[in-house]
């Protein structure tokens, strides 16, 4: 490893960190929306109003203003993974616990949610 290489990698890492914090990787929004709207996957429109989604249900709150309401994406991940942990009476399916969505899919959906 050369000194120059290390610096380059460091710079790249920093850039990615900043990018991750401020930007959604290209294509992620489309993927996330696709997963969220897919009836076999997130199926989020069944209960949530989401920009760009037709005929939403209303059992859950509208998913808007998400970055402001959920600045920490870990909270969204937890909610999607298993909301019963926080609210035993919830009707939100535990997407991770019941193997509807995997970790990667949840991450991609959260990327999408944070653009709403």
């Amino acid at each position: 490893m050369t000194g120059g290489g290390r610096i380059a990698r460091g710079a790249m890492a920093l850039a990615m960190l900043l990018a991750g914090a401020a930007l959604t990787p290209p294509g992620a929004q489309a993927d996330g929306q696709k997963l969220a709207f897919d009836r076999a996957k997130g199926n989020c429109l069944t209960c949530h109003e989401i920009k760009g989604g037709p005929a939403p249900g209303n059992l859950g709150p509208p998913l808007a203003d998400m970055k402001a309401r959920f600045p920490d994406r870990k909270e969204l991940i937890a909610i999607i993974s298993d909301e019963t942990k926080r609210n035993p009476l919830t009707v939100m399916p535990p997407f991770k616990r019941n193997l509807i969505l995997n970790d990667k899919e949840i991450e991609v959906i959260v990327d999408f949610l944070q653009t709403l």
């Binding site: 069944t46 209960c47 005929a55 059992l59 035993p88 009476l89 009707v91 399916p93 193997l99 509807i100």
Partner: protein, 280 residues
């Protein structure tokens, strides 16, 4: 395989606080709590209107329903059921011969607890028991024929209040409690109990569908569903609900389904039979 796992892990977490009085089985107290929950939550809905399910919850849907009822889509089923009911078996008897009052105006008494067999007898089960006792082939519980028969019988009872009895027999109380527990237990990959939709979210929209309140939900059965473009028995509805929460449907008239029907029908006591009905 995965589905079996979800169903097998029957769901520790409760859903809506069961509308129970306390640990002893007290159907009367449950009945009061259940009724009060819905009437308090929907003070503007006349009590008898709850049997109209989603129409009692949504004005727009009710207007659509009024148009549909001008040419009731279940009429053909009632006609067919009436014919079938009177048609003699090979041995010369008819379905009417198995029932009190020839099967006319008795729907509101079903299900009942049969102390001889120690089981809940639903109308659908009673019809098949009659067929089998007379050497005839039983009907599939989700079939159009079964729906036609129960449609006809419900039609002859229209307006009569549900009159379900729970005798002071530990087996009957156990069956009632089993139905109640089934109703409040989460199941399926989606982790919903019946109560998730019909107690916690009556009037709520899942996409464009409006959820019916559990109060009086069986009074309207069997139904003609526009979505299905044909009739659905109670069995059919229970099975499709199980499938829709990505659980495993039980065989028709499984003891658990009969117990749930017993519980829900009892909760509808005093409310009029409105079946057969049309639904979206």
């Amino acid at each position: 395989m995965l589905r079996q796992i979800f169903v097998a892990a029957v769901f520790v977490l409760g859903t809506a606080q069961p509308l129970l009085a306390d640990n002893a089985v007290d159907p009367n107290a449950d009945f009061k709590a259940f009724r009060e929950y819905f009437t308090k939550r929907f003070p503007k809905v006349p009590l008898n209107d709850f049997v109209n399910g989603p129409y009692s919850m949504d004005e727009g849907l009710r207007n659509q329903w009024k148009s549909i009822e001008e040419f009731p889509p279940y009429e053909f089923a009632v006609e067919h059921g009436k014919e079938r009911f009177a048609k003699p078996f090979k041995n010369g008897k008819t379905l009417g011969d198995c029932f009190p009052n020839k099967g006319i105006g008795i729907r509101q008494n079903y299900p009942y607890f049969d102390t001889k067999s120690g089981e809940v007898i639903t109308l659908e089960l009673a019809l098949n028991q009659c067929l089998e006792a007379n050497g005839e082939k039983p009907l599939d519980y989700s079939s159009q024929d079964m729906a036609a028969l129960t449609a006809y019988m419900a039609f002859t009872s229209r307006g009569k209040p549900f009159d379900i009895k729970i005798p002071n027999d530990p087996r009957a109380l156990a069956a009632y409690r089993s139905g109640e527990q089934y109703f409040y237990t989460r199941r399926g990959q989606l982790n919903f109990s019946c109560a998730s939709c019909h107690v916690q979210n009556p009037g709520g929209h899942i996409r464009t569908e409006v959820l019916a309140p559990a109060l009086g939900i069986l009074n309207a059965m069997p139904i003609y569903r526009s979505t299905w473009e044909n009739m659905g028995t109670i069995t059919r509805r229970f099975r499709t609900c199980n499938s829709q929460v990505r659980g495993v449907p039980l065989p028709g008239q499984d003891v658990l389904y009969r117990n749930v029907e017993y519980y829900l029908s009892y909760m509808g006591n005093g409310l009029p039979i409105s079946g057969p009905s049309a639904r979206p």
